[in-house]
């Protein structure tokens, strides 16, 4: 199994509070991703990183920010949590790169976030 951990694994927070989720990898993979998973929607990309301090938006990035100051850590921040951000959040990693298509993604165990 790829070495990916997420913390916390479960969190309940109130509307309007800031929340930070952490993804940590021990594989030294270049790419890291944050997805959210909701019933009926599958996995939707929030943000991704293609290197230290290099990040870009995914399809559902509004209300989220990310940071990557070290290869092994990728943080997802909800600046002011809303009930619509209640979801399961998955981090993933891959060895991907420009022009390279044969990169499988390995997923972390997920974080279940509830915003009340």
């Amino acid at each position: 199994d790829a070495g990916i951990t997420q913390s916390p694994r479960h969190k309940v927070t109130e509307t309007g509070t800031p929340v930070t989720l952490r993804c940590h990898q021990t594989e030294n993979h270049r790419y890291m991703y944050w997805y959210r998973q909701d019933p009926g929607h599958g996995l939707r990309l929030i943000h991704y990183s293609y290197g230290v301090k290099d990040t870009d938006k995914g399809e559902v990035s509004d209300g989220y920010s990310v940071s990557r100051s070290k290869t092994e850590d990728f943080l997802l921040t909800l600046e002011s949590a809303t009930s619509s951000q209640t979801s399961v959040y998955f981090c993933a990693i891959s060895e991907g790169g420009s022009g390279r298509m044969d990169y499988e993604q390995y997923f972390g165990p997920g974080t279940r976030l509830t915003v009340t």
């Binding site: 991703y33 929607h41 599958g42 996995l43 990309l45 293609y50 044969d102 993604q105 972390g108 997920g110």
Partner: protein
């Protein structure tokens, strides 16, 4: 431009076969397949690349029709362990990001 998966759900008896389809309206660089069991993380199954190259699970087969931008996952002689939700992920950019379909739920019963 989320890819469209069909069917939405399949119920099989152990030993039966199933086909899951993934269709895109845009040109693809590659198609990836993942399986997720309830309460767990998705796991990688296969990658299909333009030009016919494949990489992945040795007990699961798949096809990629580049002209139609469609991929199919073939599950033969299904086992109880095949139960779960199957997702296809499509790479439209060639820059290592995937757009996933909504998933196909597969239930294999004894």
């Amino acid at each position: 431009q989320q890819p469209v998966q069909s069917p939405q759900a399949v119920i099989l008896r152990e030993g039966e076969d199933a086909v899951i389809n993934c269709s895109s309206s845009k040109a693809l660089y590659s198609v990836h397949w993942y399986r997720q069991k309830h309460g767990e993380a998705p796991i990688f199954l296969m990658i299909l690349l333009k030009g016919g190259e494949q990489k992945g699970h040795d007990k699961i087969s798949a096809s990629f029709n580049e002209k139609k931008q469609q991929s199919s996952l073939y599950l033969t002689a299904s086992q109880l362990s095949y139960s779960g939700t199957y997702f296809c992920g499509t790479d439209y950019s060639g820059y290592s990001t995937l757009t996933f379909g909504k998933g196909t739920m597969l239930l294999v019963s004894p």
